[in-house]
Subunit: 344 residues, 2 copies
DNA sequence: CTGAAAGCGCTTACAG
DNA sequence: CTGAAAGCGCTTACAG
């Protein structure tokens, strides 16, 4: 009577050589057949696959990483999880990568370049197969780390400005143009004294600021006193505070462009509380079209940003790079959309 | 003249034996000294450490995982990233784990037990050192997988009810009691016809529902028609829709307990739009105290839930379990707080 | 197209 | 307290 096959392994794990035995081939052939490397006879591939599924074989990621010097991890560095924007980006990227057989390792930089560098250092130890990173303002050491590691990398969310030298691979939209476009939208609706209220002041917010500035300068309406910058984190609460400040100190203002929707939502609620008419007295606009903006009273004019698409396309580009296929375009512009609602 | 030491490794990586050479000991001694395993002479430890930092040695996680059958990854499974609640939980847990030297691998289940099982299967292949998981409603196979893997595991967010057999290790608060407590708060403020509006209908929402039910039953005010359950995802938009529905169909209602703050915020904005007075005509309460709830008009009465503390304490408990130290308490109750504001 | 050998960089028993 | 040997489970060249 045949007894069930004895496992000699201490770990009890089904290994490559177990499959090789069962299929009557060498381990290396199993390895090749399973990875879909060409140069294996179709008949053998079939036998290997049958044995593999029959035994319930699953490759060991650690062994694979050690032997190949490459893991199936992709590291993704984002500034903050509390901004819905990055959650959407992450969710989309993760889904695409997972479908491609990769695990995602998330690092949260808290908008701090030093922390980003530290995280990068840690992540790189795991020999990630690829890297997704927000923006391209990194410390010099971080840049060196990335280059030396040779790990394929895609930068997300912003694009190099005209003539600027950007990273090799990126997916995003022009934060600068989006800032300018929203400002022009307000100008077209007859606004003349348009303030810019920025928080966090990360590189992308600064690009929006520059866009706003150039649009106002073109119209001959720029004034430094229209700039309200606060390095604190963007939040509903801060938006309310900034709104009161701006309205209190510069009553002549007829529109405010908040660099993120949470600020604008806070401003809208503050206006409601203070009885300041929006848009009659002052127009309010935000950025990103976050959840809730369409339900505000009045509904918020904003810029819809394609963060989910950026996540998907960025991950897709990285997948190609990891396979050694250079993508068709090295930088992809996914654009943006002005969403005119009742607050302007 | 001494030439710089030649690296024989193809990979160019500084390895354990490089350090061993430099320190004049065997590789295994380096391994032991660096991991702080006792039974190494202090003098050797010092020499090893000096050589290690001088050469810039960093252990290879893949090799370590392969040899020890244990990685330095901790898997964390949460239902959804788009609910701020879980982002707070994750952020806190991640921070604690990182300080303990562990990388976090995130799995998003989308409130789907089958997806959870699939993720668990994938994660377990990486031999995580530990597991953090939301709730304890899992498929039978998922439970088996967890048990057989022997991976230390802490369940987050809910506690077993009185007399119920829960998981071995958990950190959370009683969703049931929180639901009952908020309902009693509304009763104390004189409300008699208190509806429950639930979305998503995950296990924790159901516990809140049961808590609401028992509080109303105690007061002799329970009626099945007060229950409004919708399996769709919780959102501001859904809250607005449910509010209109409830007010349209059951005008006698004088309070609504929404199972999550985003629903309640949507309801508040809908009330503003429709000109329905809150709390004069109807009181509104939410759950979780999410960002923005304190800025609503009127500000939202809700339950503040200690998700960040749950993340920290859960990760701390897991850290202890991974070190082989059984935690003092197997289940930790972190409580909750009723936040009475102007909407009730 | 297939395989035997060597190696990835560490740790786990097993000796002493 | 220290070390030589073996092994974790795969893949990378190198042959044929």
């Amino acid at each position: 009577m045949p007894t069930p096959t004895k496992r000699l392994r201490a770990t009890g794990r089904v290994t490559l050589s177990d499959v090789a035995h069962a299929a009557g081939v060498s381990p290396i052939t199993v390895s090749r057949a399973l990875r879909g490397e060409r140069a294996v006879a179709p008949e053998l591939v079939a036998r290997v696959q049958e044995a593999s599924t029959r035994l319930g074989y699953v490759p060991d990621p650690a062994a694979r990483a050690l032997a190949s010097q490459r893991s199936n991890h992709v590291a993704i560095l984002i500034p903050k999880l509390s901004n819905t924007l990055f959650v959407d980006l992450l969710d989309a990227a993760q889904q695409t990568l997972r479908a491609g057989g990769f695990q995602t390792l998330i690092g949260v930089t808290h908008y701090d370049e030093a922390q980003e560098e530290q995280l990068l250092r840690e992540q790189l130890l795991h020999r990630p197969a690829g890297l997704l990173i927000t923006g391209w303002n990194h410390t010099a050491s971080a840049r060196t780390l990335m280059e030396r590691s040779q790990v394929p990398c895609v930068h997300l969310m912003d694009l190099p400005r005209q003539g600027e030298v950007g990273p090799a691979h990126c997916v995003g939209f022009s934060q600068n143009e989006a800032g300018a476009a929203l400002t022009r939208h307000l100008l077209e609706r007859g606004r003349r004294r348009i303030a810019f209220a920025g928080a966090q002041l990360d590189p992308r917010v600064m690009q929006r600021l520059y866009g706003w500035r150039s649009a106002l300068q073109e119209a001959g309406l720029y004034e430094p006193t229209l700039e309200w910058l606060n390095p604190a984190s963007s939040s509903l609460a801060l938006g309310a505070v900034m709104f009161e400040q701006i309205m209190g100190q510069t009553p002549a203002i007829d529109a405010i462009f908040f660099c993120n929707d949470d600020l604008a939502q806070g401003a809208l609620l503050a206006a409601l509380r203070l009885g300041i008419q929006v848009p009659a007295r002052v127009a309010i606009a935000g950025f990103n079209d976050l959840p809730g903006s369409d339900h505000m009273l009045p509904s918020l004019t904003t810029v819809r940003t394609p963060r989910a698409q950026i996540g998907t396309a960025g991950a897709g580009m990285l997948l190609a790079l990891m396979r050694g296929q250079p993508p068709e375009q090295s930088c992809v512009d996914l654009g943006f959309e002005i969403v005119g609602r009742h607050s302007s």
